[in-house]
Symmetry: D3
Subunit: 238 residues, 6 copies
């Protein structure tokens, strides 16, 4: 039995509140149960120097966690003077995942930055961030499109992510903190709404795992991302 | 006429949502109009080394702003690797203001950290932070008190803050961004619910000011903080 | 009775030694009793990128303290790898105070940096720095003027600063270290030679204060700055 | 056809030179073709504070690349003052992979640090590092064992890693730089000598991929790691 | 002819003002012509952890230069966030030089920090710093001795330093900035009052030099340090 | 008797393996006994901004040590976030030494960076680095020359370096770690193949030294560098 009482293939309640932020071109407060991440999409009509003149745009991401998003307070990265390896790993993953479904040529010479800030954490912050980032990006593109229409939609498919892992011997979907902190195998799966894979990261935590387990986790991830894709469509009116 | 249509001595709508954060001992999402600050109070039963053994506690604050809290995206301090002078100035002010109304002996040997993170900015973020921090601190103390009662309440009075300034020649209360960005004189006033002063900071921005102006701004601040005190009481059930 | 035997409204001896530094365009070793600050004004005929092309100049300040300026040695900020929040707060205040009395258009497209380095500290280093910075700036402008005359004097009024506070229940002028370290209320007042206010910062240190106290401190500050203005004029031959 | 002329399931020549470093308790210069990584294992009979008193040891890793290990010179991380996100991601992966096959209880209260420094890079530096780190760790444990025998071998199985990816539409084993820089899908697979999985990381680079591709890459990885396991045994005399 | 009109073996005017700083246990404002360095000696009755329990003391040095000590303003190291390689090289040299003549056992378990801050620079700042540091250290030891007498004087000989170099083909003593900036060979010589060598650093700047030149520069250094030793004795009443 | 059994004027075995690195324009693995340094020369046809437009090139050096190059593991400078004073001192020395024998005008507007990374340390790493850097630089210049011939050879003479010191009262050549860690006087000598001096650094470690000692050490250095010059010629086919 999972601590939350969920069945192994059950997602937590998904919340997607579009337009949470007044200033950003696109934004979404995404909730996977008690995990709450605020994602904003900021459009700049200027590219970093190394991207200019290629007729392409860029999508990048930054990630942060409020010090008391967690059960016990963590130190503030700005005060420590550097981002942890974990933070950098996550923001690189988010950026890569969104770029995998973005047509950078169709986007044109502009940069969109996806800021993912965890207001409250209960496991799965990076997968919630990716899933919410798609909504924020979609809204920002719609806003650009309303003024200067794209010839080709730069974001033709959806992307979403979910974590799966082995909790007390059973593969389960969408780990919360109580499960995540004791899971022996832990994976993050990023998929498109067409069923293709964008990123698979499965890690043994203290015990190795078998190929069958990897495949089972991937099956669960397909169930979870289908639910997220529906929530994304609802939030963006697609 | 103020851009918002408010009269010179009119506050923006004040919102105080207690318990916004699930994990923190105390928390408050404070809103001064479109300025939204999430404050959490984290209790640690351990003091920094230099405070130990004095039979006293400590209250400190940290401040941050999400990159897209503002009209245009600012860079992330954690990514830049240091907190700006402005950030440090503000978090020192918040900590000082709350300590001024806290009885550190009554608090006992524990530290409370007030994290003030600006989710959305429209002027007055530091004064909103101070005002919301009182609520978060009050709730955290109440939570401690429920388990291990204080002999003496460590927080016998309220503290609140508001900015006032001279907009187009007229002293006005609670500057929003449109006013703040062009104000010639700008002041932050921190007051107690007994009418005493905790901190006065008045600054000439491009033009000097007279003593009468300072006094007029202080009068407005009293009007504003009275409204904030009422909202604080409502939020904490006092 | 004050530790120094001064009456409540008595400044420490003011010293202003212009031209202390051989290389700087303007310089002043300013002394408020045992507080000694070396201020140099460095003129650069080049502006920071964000200031260019506006037909205006810029005045900025940096502040530092030699490690053994104080009773016990403090660590060197260059060795620690960062400036403290206190240092940044002070140098922002100095820059703001000097800009408030400088006509940046009349200055033209050049930048003047005021380096304020505390050789010896006995309370009031920031106010001594502001007061000496005016002398260094005045001398640097005179030096420019001798070669390429200004159509309009960019520095038509004087600016000076002094600290005042409540020592053992009595409002006193120009706190030295013995007073400052135990004062309950502490204020820094920046005024112009025409009697206008540039900056007022009054802070409760462990006890709140009343409006009457603020006004009394301001009265004392006017007495102190009058003495400083006279010393500035003597040092610059005005 | 692959640039190197290899067939899709062919590894580059594997070199494992044990004892390359005179001082380290264990060391190995590992070569995957033109990719050369020096790994040293340093034993400290002291744990980091947060690990003490649990009756367990710790294995950790650090990763670096000489500035001119690559085709064009990269900047030195020590001179830039920070490790890149990529470096941190890699060193976390190496540490995790070796810990997954180490019995930390059997190791006892000591820490082993695996320093992986890339002398020359031609793709696959992280997988070569993991594979060589096993040799360095094995040798270091043998050295400890010769003096103070372990009751239980802390490293009962081997771990190795290899990269696989899709080059011009064909899944291939052990990407070199020419392939890696244009591959559409790129994966790193960490396996044990018993065939279990330790870590799977598959990433879409500009194009998504299907589940069948993931499985094909995993098949190739099994072929590659079998060859590496043999080389590890030869290098350690097992 | 030297720019200053000095003969090749002529020092600049040496000034040694002991007790310049009110707080430090020992201090000296040392002048070699227009080069002015403030040295303070700070005594701590506590050693850094790695020195404790050996029955010995430690002498260390830090070096800094005010931003406008030079002809054009340099950036402030505290603001840049790190000390330059030059600064570190100089402060290591100063510490080593003073330790070479200090009996660390006789000093006992205390640390003395010599802060050398250049108020004005005209060449030879590091040699002036070493020479003035001896005075500050001597005075600090005298102050300790007056309270808790040393059984053995920890500083039985003097140490001084001077720069020599080849200016327009002629070896000259005590280079000023005009000479230093064009000298082909440049050396810093640290000697004791008994004529022994503590440190010799001779460097080709754009042209190599011969052994005879090195010996000639050393002869000049002996002339210069003799004058400095006399000034040190006068300043300390020895 | 020296720990290694060498006579006082005997070098350790010198090894110079040219072309160790596949990518660098020039490279050399230099060995002085158990001290092994990998030097690469990287040519960039672009100068740092402050060097441009002078019709000259630049030669610079960086130095690093692998964490376990030494008997006990040192911390990684990239992880600590800064280069030590020692590292900076050494890399400045290497750069200066190579520039002293390079005709920067003949080199033309390009920069060559010499990366010296210590794979294994047993005393004398900086002198081995300088000696090996000449080989790497020579090879890089030969490679440039083969494509775009130099009118004048930018490197007409050789440069080499060796350490000498006083071990148990006897001046000895080429100190290894066992000697270096207890030597009372320690010197690094950089000489050209024509017998001229480039840099002399002699330091008292806990005891002063006499002029005769300096001269004796210099004699030993000439013996040592003659052997190194021969090895350099053999390695470069000169």
């Amino acid at each position: 039995m999972r601590p939350s009482g969920r069945s192994p293939d059950m997602m937590r309640e998904i919340g997607m509140q579009p337009g949470f932020s007044a200033h950003a071109e696109g934004s979404c407060l995404v909730k996977f149960g008690q995990t709450h991440v605020l994602v904003t999409a900021s459009v700049e009509e200027k590219l970093p120097p190394w991207m200019r003149g290629k007729g392409e745009g860029w999508v990048t991401a930054e990630y942060g966690m409020l010090p008391r998003a967690t059960h016990t307070r963590g130190s503030r990265e700005a005060a420590k003077g550097k981002q942890s390896g974990r933070t950098q790993e996550i923001q690189r993953l988010i950026g890569r995942s969104l770029r995998a479904v973005t047509d950078l040529k169709a986007l044109g010479e502009r940069q969109i930055t996806l800021d993912c800030d965890v207001l409250q954490a209960d496991g799965g912050t990076r997968t919630a961030a990716i899933s919410g980032a798609w909504v924020a990006l979609r809204l920002a593109l719609d806003k650009i499109h309303a003024v200067t229409p794209f010839a080709v939609d730069p974001l033709p498919v959806q992307v979403a992510a979910v974590s799966c892992g082995v909790y007390e011997g059973t593969p389960v979907l969408d780990l919360d903190y109580d499960e995540d902190s004791v899971a022996h195998t832990d994976g993050n799966f990023v998929l498109t709404s067409k069923g293709s894979l964008v990123e698979v990261q499965a890690t043994a935590e203290g015990a190795v795992f078998e190929e069958e387990t990897l495949l089972r986790l991937l099956r669960l991830a397909r169930i979870g991302t289908d639910a997220i894709f529906a929530a994304q469509r609802a939030a963006t009116g697609r």
